[in-house]
Subunit: 290 residues, 2 copies
């Protein structure tokens, strides 16, 4: 069995082929240019292989409901030139194999879920957040991706403001001080006028960030009772998650049972941002089984 | 087929038997006294009938994981005398039929889900909140109750504080100003020193309440993308939900597609607090099919 993966990001595309054990056999990366150029490169890449199915984890927003007339499209994205792009249609015109189309963060969530299963962890339900240029989340419940009316947009919930952060307006163009507006990468520039990578973890802003991220973990804990919450993305680090665990414990106040926090609130098990590729392979493989 | 329902509330027990079409054939109500007295009455009631299975929707917290040593127990509840009560064990010692044990709000959620299905609504995923003495929530995703590590406790999430309500400490003994601490029935006494039923909907406190409840609806919309969100409980009314819909629309700011709000954010379809009874029947029936 040969499986394909397309991790379609706003900055770059990562295409890969792998086997049924999710081992990468070949991989290529190219920048995200115009849809025509980028999707042609994608098709040309997969023409070289005889893949049985392809999983796509795409930037969004995208239409994932099969019943929608624009299923398989990137819809009204802020990414210039990409609004209303028929991603799945363009691909399958040439590469005539089953395709599973989902969001980047859903792909990563599924990759981490699959890896937990392979590690014999008792994980049926998992939430994956990415905290980077934006904030997004995906969830697996009873082995299935969540989202009846479309994919989740977990980055845009409201949270209780930190007492030392009441004057910060937030950077989300749609909601100002939603979670993304308070903790995404660009908030460092907005709050401190420098890049997040130049802000040491001793800076109090990280405590403000962790207070908000801990509330996100609290929300999904109390709403979904998942087995595990994974945080990826450029803003996340193990040291930062130590703060998040501390604040989560304070906020939860022992109200419901959760696993030891080092296991419950974690970095991705799959290194080098590889979660989505594994997730794509696994989603493609599942298509072939159904 | 004869199905049993036990709606075990902190104030009263409602026991019922019904047929596979969820029609109630007999029903009784008695106050929640000691566990011994109340559960004996429950058993005595079901001894009169030849039920095939029973659904229980209980106040909590309860242990619903079948693998737990105290599965079927009401665990460390504030309800006096009821901590560590082996509810399922006591019942099935005498009434030897399959039992489905879940929370009161999960039972109501399932009842509303089943009713939506019977009404030919396209509902695969549904969230049910109760706002009364406490605040709780249950969710159905792809036809299944959510909760891998136990049942949800959606009432205890944090929300952004309303600018006119910053000084109110909140009434939750565990989390002060979580959702329950800000919008449950007892908050009327705490804020205004009178009962909620004596506070007209023109009072500004209802706008504060609706701002918080709209945030709860926003959270589950962005995390789960359900087909429908139902609000029950003594604090809820159609007029109050009009305010909630207004605030929800402002908060969401058109970010993701949702159905028309009158269909999306609704009162229970089943009248007279009957959602849990229908849910219990349906969960019992599903047990027999599995």
């Amino acid at each position: 069995m040969l499986l394909g993966s397309i991790e379609a990001g706003g900055t770059k595309f990562v295409c890969a082929v792998g086997n049924e054990n999710y081992q990468i056999k070949d991989q290529t990366t190219f920048p995200t240019a115009t849809p025509e150029e980028t999707l042609k490169k994608t098709v040309d890449y997969f023409k070289q292989f005889d893949v049985d199915a392809i999983g796509i984890a795409s930037f969004g927003p995208i239409e994932i409901r099969k019943t929608a007339p624009n299923y398989g499209f990137i819809t009204d994205t802020p990414k210039k030139g990409w609004s209303n792009t028929d991603f799945v249609g363009f691909l399958t015109k040439t590469i005539k194999v089953p395709v599973f189309f989902t969001t980047d963060v859903n792909g990563s969530a599924f990759g981490e879920y699959v890896m937990s299963q392979l590690s014999n962890e008792d994980v049926d339900s998992l939430v994956y957040y990415t905290i980077g240029t934006g904030v997004g989340g995906g969830a697996i419940i009873n082995g299935k991706l969540v989202g009846s009316l479309g994919h989740p947009e977990m980055g845009h919930v409201k949270v209780k403001r930190h007492p030392d952060d009441l004057d910060f307006a937030g950077v989300c163009p749609f909601h100002k001080d939603c979670l993304e507006g308070l903790v995404s990468g660009p908030t460092f520039e907005a709050r401190l006028n420098k890049s997040g990578k130049d802000v040491p973890l001793t800076d109090p802003v990280w405590d403000i960030m962790s207070y908000y991220v801990a509330q996100a973990a609290l929300q999904v804990t109390l709403i979904l009772r998942p087995d595990k919450i994974v945080f990826g993305g450029g803003v996340t680090s193990e040291k930062f998650l130590e703060k998040v665990r501390r604040d989560f414990a304070t906020l939860l106040n022992g109200y419901v049972h959760v696993p030891p926090l080092e296991q419950y609130i974690t970095m991705p098990e799959i290194s080098n941002n590889g979660s989505a590729t594994v997730g794509d392979f696994a989603l493609a493989k599942r298509l072939l089984r159904e």
